[in-house]
């Protein structure tokens, strides 16, 4: 091939590989819109805050489920760990929220690091059971060690203002939502870079064909441990945010239904392109608010029905339409998505 033709091809390769790495205007518009909603609806700050935190939690699941193809029934473990870590720290007098955030993420990451090797052997079913088992163990430990966690009564703690300037307690609900927004955005941006990096490419390869990834020199074990730890840190951060902005922690954070809920959020929004968790979480929270107002006790029934229909109809087909729109703007979108 002649030199100019080669250069032209190289240009095509470069453009192709970078095509989704750059931030495009629809993405920027999305984030500005979210920010606008926070300012436009100050009376709904609490539920917006909840949706943002749920979005972060679902994003953390997307890192392992959507990006890497690792199934988990116990992701709530990290939510609970992060929340309790931050709450315990605050109840001991360290009321700075950023410190609590880092501590919560750190503790969750540590547990993630230690439990990640359990995911490496066996297949999907084993992973589902192990992750479920670990989250139940942690929940039980939290329950039994009331001296630390306050048990069923919960903990009494108060949170100081962010950066010493912005109170996020009961009187600062909008600040709380902004605080969550900033944390979510920063963590999202990092995750986005990660998805486009060689590391992210390796994770995608592990998900699509682990056999071939190994045959190309990718050490799947180390990568999986790394992303699981990262996802745990993200979920821990979500937990810390939850504790700090609501000033409540409860044992139900470790419950199985939290892990099931976050999976549903991710499935609704579509896994694998990082925006799905946030969109799904928002949809979930809004729907729950609407439906609970109508039939408070039977909310569970509608969730169950949604899951059944989603699975029967085919998770791919449901998410296909919005996904095609998202393809224009977002990180690597895959057809198969998950598992």
């Amino acid at each position: 091939m002649s030199a100019p033709a080669a250069t032209a091809t190289m240009g095509r390769v470069a453009a192709h590989l970078h095509r989704r790495a750059r931030w495009r205007w629809p993405e920027i518009a999305f984030w500005l819109a979210v920010l606008a909603v926070i300012f436009a609806l100050p009376s709904r700050a609490a539920i917006i805050n909840e949706a943002l935190i749920a979005g972060l939690f679902a994003l953390s699941l997307d890192l392992i489920l959507g990006l890497t193809g690792i199934v988990s029934l116990g992701h709530a473990a990290f939510l609970g760990l992060g929340a309790y870590a931050a709450a315990v720290l605050a109840s001991q007098g360290f009321a700075d929220p950023l410190l609590g955030l880092a501590f919560g993420a750190g503790i969750a990451a540590l547990v993630g690091l230690v439990t990640a090797p359990l995911l490496l052997r066996g297949g999907d079913l084993t992973r589902l059971m192990v992750t479920l088992g670990v989250s139940l163990m942690l929940g039980e430990l939290a329950n039994r060690n009331g001296w630390l966690t306050g048990g069923a009564d919960g903990l009494n703690f108060s949170i100081g203002p962010v950066l010493g300037l912005f109170p996020i307690g009961f009187t600062g609900q909008r600040n709380a939502a902004l605080y969550s927004f900033v944390v979510l955005f920063i963590l999202f941006a990092i995750a986005r870079r990660l998805a486009h990096s060689p590391f992210g490419l390796a994770l995608t390869a592990i998900r699509e064909n682990r056999l071939r990834a190994g045959a190309l020199g990718v050490g799947a074990s180390r990568r999986i441990v790394a992303i699981y730890t990262t996802a745990a840190a993200y979920a821990g951060a979500a937990g810390a945010l939850l504790a700090e902005t609501t000033q409540i922690v409860s044992l139900d954070l470790f419950d199985f239904h939290r892990s099931a809920d976050v999976m549903l959020m991710l499935i609704i929004g579509g896994a694998g392109y990082l925006y799905g968790g946030i969109i799904g979480a928002a949809a979930f929270i809004v729907l729950r608010d609407v439906i609970s107002a109508a039939t408070p006790e039977y909310w569970e029934f509608w969730i169950g029905l949604a899951l059944v229909i989603l699975v029967l109809a085919g998770r791919d087909r449901i998410a296909a339409a919005p996904r095609r729109l998202i393809t224009l703007v977002a990180p690597r979108v895959t057809r198969g998505g998950v598992a």
Binding site: M1, A6, T9, M10, R12, V13, A14, H16, L17, H18, A21, R193, L194, H196, S197, P198, F199, G200, L201, A202, T204, A205, E208, N209, L211, R212, A213, G214, A215, L216, G217, V218, G219, A220, R222, R223, A226, R332, T334, R335, G336
Partner: protein, 251 residues
Amino acid sequence: MSVPALEARGLVRRFGALIATDDVSFAVQSGARQALIGPNGAGKTTLINLLTGVLKPTAGQVLLQGRDVTHVASSARVRMGLSRTFQINQLFPDLTPAESPALAISERDGSGADFWRVAGGRSEIIAEIESLLTRFGLEADMDQPTRKLSYGKQRLLEIALALATRPRVLLLDEPAAGVPEEERQDILAALAALPSDVAILLIEHDMDLVFNFAERISVLVAGRLMAEGAPDEIAADERVRAVYLGEDAHG
């Protein structure tokens, strides 16, 4: 005599009572063009799996450039220069022909754990991808997801990916299998154009391909190496003809 690029010493693999690989010893020299043939069920793919580390041998050793790699993990062997293709395409359905080699190249040059820069961001990687795609005639389809390519093009990508790891030894498991007539020429041409410093072990059923390509042929029957030598020796070998004629007689 120089150190063989790849060597098997007394390899044995048992599955319960079944002996799939029976005391196999052979060597592939640097830059060799060697073929491994044998009837169906002879254990060729099992042997490949043993050599690459996907299967652990019941006994015996595997040496890569003289180093004992019998207990080395398969992904580590790749980093040491041993690469393979699969009999049935093992590709990444939603990655494109530009992205898949980017993965292999990043792993090889040590940036596989980089989580901050864009994959394939460096110009050396871009140049290498360009050269690889051009060599295999895939540059026109570089931005299509792999699952949309024709089978023949996928097969070419299968080989291209293995080559992207810059192996010293390349094991090709039936590269022409299942490829439609009109695309076979591309495969043959790609094989002929493989770098001469890479040792190549080819498993194939297609005798035309084997005799055109190989300088040395090993014959595997029922897990054991029955014969080994230059193509015309093998073609004239009575035992080999019996095995294949016997097979023909049964249809």
